[in-house]
Symmetry: C3
Subunit: 471 residues, 3 copies
């Protein structure tokens, strides 16, 4: 079995000159606090501060990067203990699940999951050998024991990880009880929420009409009409702000925006509530809501994040048996230049607004996103996302974005993860890849090293806080 090592120069270019520069740049950013302005950790962890359960529960079952790969190789999801909403019997023994994972660990070679997991295994649990079917049980036992110790409680980990800010994501229907509990506990950890209104602005979302009704109930607004509906959404934005929210997040199938008259909005909203929107009307409504949200952001200062382009639940078999978020979301081609125009025509030149754009379609980096962000004052570019949160993905992002939009229309790194343990690993990869890219610019005499050093710190820390208003 191979030794598990985390080489200090990992992810740096092999060329010695460039590597030495990368090393120096990284030296100045490696210990900066982690600012995680966008992610999906569970706020109850920090509210309740309970011990994590077993290794399978923590490292396999919630990580769709992991189980989608195993599934692609023919491993049934039931064998991995993925809960079946259709009531299929699933594996209950976490040790068996762990062994199955270990047996297929070879399949992650060359993937970021492998890099993140190895980091966790070595840095957090101290393993010296790469995981395989031979050492699966030993791995399981050691992780399982560690998880029972005080040092592995969520708040302790957050402090040990030097996480300055950590944003979770909640629906406007959420009462933020966990965030409330955190506040009331007196704990000083920087856990905040972010406002994700998809369930109440997307007519295709399961239970949309009920969700809107609940929104009315929660806010005391009459959400059966357009005006009351908007008031209710604003009301909840304020509530979220009172729990530290500085941003909203919008996960739409496309980047489409709309700018309809109030009369059209009222009509479309009524149709949406009645469940009578055509596919195209639902799209228009979602697009209108992006524009509405931009208008609210101008008023209340919340930064807008747009995450378009995922074909959710592509596999109906998996969806019926196991539900959402099971690794079956597939990107599709995404257009921005025409799609964003209605919103930009209305608000694109208003310096009070800040919109952070993401994509799963890398073809738009140099063609659409960099030219848009390099012109419009309201637009900034989020980091390489999801399938592109990886060394090569990050490299392509910088190579294709920087020459047109520069570094200062970008916002640093997002880990975007549910996998709490992997947060430092992910930020470390991003820091190393930024230093890698900058080191090449320095080695090729395209940027002086002192300026590259400043950029490295900006990308790691300053720009993140500034873009997400976490100062």
């Amino acid at each position: 079995m191979s030794a598990l090592t985390l080489h200090p120069d990992r992810l740096f270019p092999a060329d010695e000159t460039t590597r030495a520069i990368a090393r120096r740049l990284y030296q100045e950013v490696k210990d900066l606090p982690i600012v995680s302005p966008h992610g999906h950790t569970d706020p109850s962890w920090f509210a309740d501060n309970e011990l994590f359960p077993n290794p399978a529960e923590l490292l396999i079952k919630p990580d769709h990067y992991v189980f989608r790969m195993l599934y692609s190789l023919g491993v049934p999801l039931v064998d991995l203990g993925i809960p079946s909403k259709a009531g299929l019997p699933v594996e209950q023994d976490p040790k068996k699940i762990w062994r199955l994972f270990a047996k297929h660990y070879y399949a992650f070679r060359g993937t970021p999951s492998r890099m993140w997991l190895d980091y966790v295994f070595k840095e957090v649990f101290g393993f010296e050998e790469i995981l395989s079917d031979k050492n699966a049980d030993a791995y399981y036992e050691r992780i399982n024991s560690a998880l029972q110790t005080e040092a592995f409680r969520p708040r302790a980990l957050m402090e040990r990880y030097n996480i300055e800010w950590l944003a979770t994501t909640e629906s406007p229907l959420d009462d933020l009880r966990h965030h409330k509990k955190i506040r009331e506990s007196g704990w000083k950890g920087g856990v905040i929420t972010a406002y994700r209104p998809d369930p109440v602005v997307d007519p295709d979302f399961e239970g949309f009409a009920d969700n809107v009704a609940r929104l009315g109930k929660i806010t005391g607004e009459d959400t059966t009409n357009w005006k009351g509906y908007l008031a209710a959404l604003k009301n909840r934005r304020e509530y979220f702000k009172s729990f530290g929210a500085t941003s909203t997040d919008h996960g739409h199938p496309t980047a489409q925006t709309s700018d309809l008259s109030v009369a059209e909005c009222e009509k479309l909203f009524a149709k949406a509530l009645a469940g009578q929107c055509s596919k195209q009307e639902a799209e228009t409504f979602r697009g209108q809501m992006l524009t509405e949200m931009a208008g609210m952001s101008i008023e209340d200062g919340l930064v807008m994040q747009i995450h378009p382009g995922s074909f959710r639940n592509h596999n109906p078999h998996v969806f019926e048996k196991f539900g959402r978020d099971k690794g079956a979301d597939i990107p599709s081609q995404t257009e921005y230049v025409n799609a964003l125009k209605p919103l930009l025509d209305k608000y694109g030149n208003d310096n009070r607004l800040s919109i952070i754009l993401f994509t799963l379609d890398e073809t738009v980096y140099s063609r659409e996103l960099a030219p848009l962000a390099g012109h419009y004052p309201v637009l900034k570019l989020g980091p390489s996302w999801w399938f592109h949160d990886s060394p090569e993905g990050m490299r392509r992002f910088r190579e294709q974005i920087t020459e047109t939009a520069g570094f200062y229309n970008t916002v640093g790194f997002n880990d975007d993860t549910r996998a709490f343990l992997s947060i430092p690993a992910r930020h470390d990869v991003a820091r190393r890849m930024d230093c890698n890219f900058l080191a090449r610019l320095v080695a090729e005499h395209r940027l002086p090293e002192d300026e590259a050093q400043e950029v490295a710190i900006d990308l790691t820390y300053r720009l993140v806080k500034q873009a997400y208003k976490l100062d």
Copy 2:
């Protein structure tokens, strides 16, 4: 004139550390047998085992990579001896054709054709100088003489090249007489066929209705109705299997699949036979046939290859005068996420099925193909294909695929060639480029060298045999 050398480190990264790793990885794969599971060599070569004719006939006239480049620079196809179906007088003197080729050899600088040809010139024929107009005649004479020797008979070359398996491609209308002759000859060479049903499943194919009628005659099934037509296709699949076929191959304009009711199929099939399909209906029919073929594959175990996205015969002038396959096929944008859904909805989770996807549209590598293959158990990714069967093409493939789909959802290399002499050159380029990519992962401490070594062997040999069921 420059010396013709094949540097032992060619295609390896210049950085010394990385190059040394690449060299070590390559050392372990360079002599592995060639497994060529997808190509277009002529089975009659191996059946009849006759001498090849002159150099122009062997190296220029069948190689559309070569003559398309000359044509793009203004060289008339008639001057290259390309047979004219319109009866134009064409050059008959192979020596003159060879000289014209030699004169334009500079135009191939930086292309894979140059690399393959140089390999053949040096390794197979022992030339010491790069081809040019100055040494054109000497080249011609030496190659011409060699072709008259026993060592250059097809079977001798196949053995010398250490080709373990070589698949040709035939239509269901083919009687496989050459494969039959090979079997009966007692020769042990691993030449097998593959089932390419385009002429009988594509309503736009020249002579479709006649082809289907012939299919009926050959199989004794009534192919005037849907049921008999499917039975006939199955019948031929069995026949192909008896000559070693382990795969089918489908060259469609798009990746569209369909899943119609039997009644709809019957209706559409009747229209297709009557030559009354609209453009859209022909597309739907082809898409339905992919789904039908997937169903048959579940039963008979043939691996399915889908090669979409080529706009065939883009140049009507060339088509009218010279016919198909004259270098005028141009890729076009190809969508997979929606296109494959009908087939995947039906069979995407059935572990008995294996579909190998190819593309000419590299934009889908990271956006569509890797996410699809990294989820669906039935999907694997074929290597970079046709215009992308090149060092940079292979590099982009690995860089954009691996982080999401890993190595183990890919299937090794296909040479896909008619140019028999170039097969070892092509496999050598692929092996070197895989070692190049892996060496970078090792040098950047992203993968331990022992694991990279295992992957290199898997990509060269094990995965190919496994994916194409050639074990």
Copy 3:
């Protein structure tokens, strides 16, 4: 403040072996004359040969690469002195504008603008420190003084820069008085014009009908009918040729071409003149005009340049207040394989025609443009353009084009600039990046160094003159 240095090895790969090769290749091309066959400098500069005004007027206000970046960071265009067609009061003090630019100079890190500007600051004005808010005034004063000297008159700069040919771009409505004046002055500088008919062939162009009427007046042809209109366009082509034009240039929203009957053309032309074209009809008309222009090129030998894919004036707020060309043109997806077919079907195999294709959509490099140019004798590929006129953009161009189309279907570099001072900087970047790419091929033993050297000279000089018929 950091020292401003132009390292002799800038833009060469860091690896020492490769860098040494790049250095040798560059040595042979760095002093070759500049051939600038496509650009937008003002011919009155060379006609009148007057002194340039202040630094802001020369380096900021005409350079939309510069002010779009500042605008994207929230700097109002009025503060940069950009003239407002809506009559907004704008900053008049060039020194204040310069300071604002200097303060934001950090934002250009990693962009080609930074590289071009640093080159001008160091090579042309001799600065030793990088521009910042601290030395902004000193910069301003020194540049301002230099601009008052004889050495900075346009003709002196053109000679000092060793520019052999410099093409400007004019509308057929232009009387070419500046070019006339240059001719009559007896000055031997190679300033020529190029024929850009957009204002008289695009029904969506502002004032189209008036423009066509003026065209009739200028040429004495009856441009109220199709036949007279074509005659007038031909007439102006001849006039442009008499002032050295060797090319035409076409800036269309898409690459669409059409091939209509004369009757259809007449009808559509009448509609266009009457301002009654639908969006689709305007597109068809522009497409028809590309085909007409190709036909005229076959007769008169002008090389055709097609520059499609820009969504002009995407920001209506900026357009209304500041007009065209204010950094708000955004690329959009561009298709070529189907779009060019009507023109190619008609003229694609006529060796008398030469069409140079450009793109802002890099996804077509390997998928569409290289395969098209690697087959059709009339097609060549223009260099990486506009947002892609940058080190990484040039690298992607060569990596994605060369393996299919080779070097000899490309045409060398275009600077395409209004920023006269930056011309040598831009050509220098292109020469370095070509040597960078070629050095990698040599270092990886993919091309012998003597051939790479020949290619470097071809790309810098010979191919440009040949492609643009400047021999």
